[in-house]
């Protein structure tokens, strides 16, 4: 046992450079082993190249080679070596663990590679030993033992010894790896916890900033409190606008490529369904945040300016279309004008209904000294609930108007209509962007908040919260 600090080579009279001799501690075995293997010859190159690297990474390897030479001679003594290995293993394991950067998987694969290589070497050595009895028994015995410990482990008479050493090695590695894994997990969990706390803090900050009107964001000047319903509405609308672009280009190519009427009708119907989709979205948005729709915060500023009941005014749209649809038959012209007229009447009725609602609300909120505050608010709230109904009816009117167009016009004309509408609102959106980014003069300081708002809006993707419906 005491011998295990003395290099094998020296013990057995091999010619070894003194520089390799006895660097105490775990490291010394690398160089020694390497040297010894080189001296052996066969497959040494193969081993050296690889094992040098692997060995350097695994301080635990040397333990194996601290066995006494005597252990190679008899099965009985291998027990000792086994137990020696045991103690050494446990010692070094504790020693090396903290410095070990290699993951369990890597280490085991390295070990496997080393095992395989050693197996090959051992087999070859066995053959050499067997086939060349003329060789000095001692020298062979001397050289062989270098890898003998490993070889011996595999060929030990009792499989238990073999298992012991191997199992011990595996156990040691597993223990190491498990500990590292636990440490990593702990670090990860800690990171998660701190991230969670940070996230909560950020949310609180954001909420505070919003309530103070510091963040203008997409809700326009003044107090920027955007509800989640509004956010979703804007997001869905942006997506709808992307679809709109697609549909429009399809229509354009369809019209220019002179598609058959049947195909064109299919396109027109698809476009109508596309419109139905936005009205459906608006219907849902009205439930969550009717003010977002009514104030036009989901649209571009230019559209917002001329908004009627949360969207476009159908009669205005028809007026635009009449001017764009040149050759109209008498019947078609009558149909379109009649449509415009009906739409105007319906718009008027709804506007008057909304006016009455407003008046009623004013009366409630203005109230009088005799009215109980809580009750007043309750009544006002129930009146506000009617707003959703008006927005829904307005959208219904818009939807009906659009659906009526293909009934009055030919397919080509209807397709042209939809193109005209899409392009018109696209231009309005572009106008809003241009207006916002126009060079400004001395008045800049006065207009700062509004500009920041619009600029913020412009900075966001151009399709967000721009509408034409």
């Amino acid at each position: 046992m005491a011998n295990h600090h003395i290099p094998y080579a020296l013990l057995h009279g091999m010619n070894v450079p003194t520089s390799f001799i006895n660097q105490e501690g775990s490291a010394f075995d690398f160089g020694e082993l390497e040297e010894a293997i080189v001296l052996q010859g066969a497959k040494a190159n193969l081993l050296t190249g690889r094992t040098a690297a692997t060995l350097e990474m695994f301080p635990s390897w040397p333990m194996r080679y601290q066995q006494t030479p005597g252990s190679s001679k008899s099965g009985g003594e291998s027990t000792d070596s086994g137990s020696a290995l045991n103690t050494i293993s446990s010692k070094t394991e504790n020693q090396f663990e903290p410095d070990f950067p290699i993951s369990k998987k890597a280490s085991s694969s390295y070990h496997q590679a080393f095992d395989q290589q050693n197996l090959q070497l051992q087999q070859q050595q066995q053959q050499e030993m067997a086939s060349d009895p003329s060789r000095t028994g001692t020298s062979l015995n001397q050289s062989a033992p270098i890898v003998k410990p490993l070889q011996e482990k595999k060929r030990a008479s009792t499989s238990e010894k073999q298992l012991d050493a191997k199992t011990l090695r595996r156990l040691a590695q597993n223990k190491e790896a498990a500990k590292k894994s636990r440490l990593r997990k702990k670090a990860y969990v800690q990171q998660l916890e701190s991230s969670r706390i940070k996230l909560t803090q950020l949310e609180q900050e954001l909420q505070r900033a919003r309530s103070q009107g510091l963040l203008l964001g997409s809700s326009g000047g003044g107090v920027g409190n955007i509800s989640s319903g509004a956010v979703i509405c804007d997001m869905e609308y942006a997506r709808w606008l992307e679809d709109d672009e697609r549909h429009m280009s399809e229509l354009r190519t369809g019209l220019h490529s002179n598609l058959s009427d049947t195909d064109l009708r299919l396109m027109v119907n698809t476009y109508l369904s596309h419109y139905d989709e936005i009205f459906r979205l608006k219907g849902m948005a009205a439930k969550f945040d009717v003010f977002h729709l009514l104030t036009g915060m989901w649209t571009s500023p230019a559209e917002r300016c001329f908004l009627w009941m949360g969207g476009f005014r159908p009669s205005e749209l028809i007026k635009i279309l009449i001017s764009q649809l040149d050759p109209l038959t008498e019947q078609q012209l009558m149909g379109i004008c009649s449509l415009q007229h009906s739409s105007q009447q319906a718009e008027e009725a709804l506007s008057q209904g909304l006016e009455q609602l407003q008046q009623s609300l004013i009366d409630t909120v203005a109230g009088g000294p005799a009215i109980d505050g809580m009750q007043q608010m309750a009544i006002a709230l129930s009146k506000l609930a009617n707003l959703e109904g008006f927005v829904r009816q307005a959208d219904n009117l818009r939807q009906q108007t659009l659906h009526q167009l293909p009934r009055i016009l030919t397919v080509r004309q209807a397709a042209r209509c939809f193109l005209v509408i899409g392009e018109y609102y696209g231009r309005l959106r572009a106008l809003s962007s241009l207006w916002a980014s126009r060079p400004r003069g001395r008045l800049m300081s006065d207009e700062q908040p509004c500009q920041t708002t619009t600029e913020l809006q412009m900075v966001q993707p151009s399709q967000s919260h721009f509408s034409h419906f």
């Binding site: 009447q345 008057q352 209904g353 909304l354 009455q356």
Partner: protein, 125 residues
């Protein structure tokens, strides 16, 4: 506009003597005049629908159910008829049920409302 509700408070109460079943009353009232609107005086959408017909030059007959002592029953009957928890306003033309505001507007846009009105004699020209 004729507000039939007044009749219930006055001397002349012809409708009271007729069957107490609310649905029967609804049908009867609806068929008496060319354009019949069941409404609530406080409701703004009801106001809108009234304005629509007036704007078209039609003279609808309006029953304000919140001012009718048996209005609640009529409202319930209409709820069952429409399958809707908020049945008012509801419009009948020529005794036929047209529906609520959305149906009225849809029929106006698609051009079916005016012919119906002319047929019922509520519109000339």
């Amino acid at each position: 506009m004729h507000y039939q509700g007044d009749y219930y408070w006055g001397y002349y109460m012809p409708t009271r003597s007729i069957g107490s079943d609310p649905m029967e009353r609804v049908v009867k009232l609806a068929s008496e005049k060319a354009v019949v609107i069941f409404s609530l005086s406080s409701c703004c959408m009801c106001h809108a629908v009234k304005r629509l017909f007036c704007g078209m030059g039609v003279n609808p007959t309006v029953y304000e159910l919140d001012q009718d002592p048996r209005g609640k029953d009529l409202e319930t009957a209409l709820m069952r008829l429409l399958g809707n928890s908020q049945p008012l306003p509801v419009v009948f033309i020529g005794g036929k049920l047209i529906g609520a505001m959305d149906r009225v507007m849809a029929s106006h846009i698609n051009g079916t409302l005016v012919p119906l009105l002319k047929e019922a004699g509520a519109l000339w020209l």
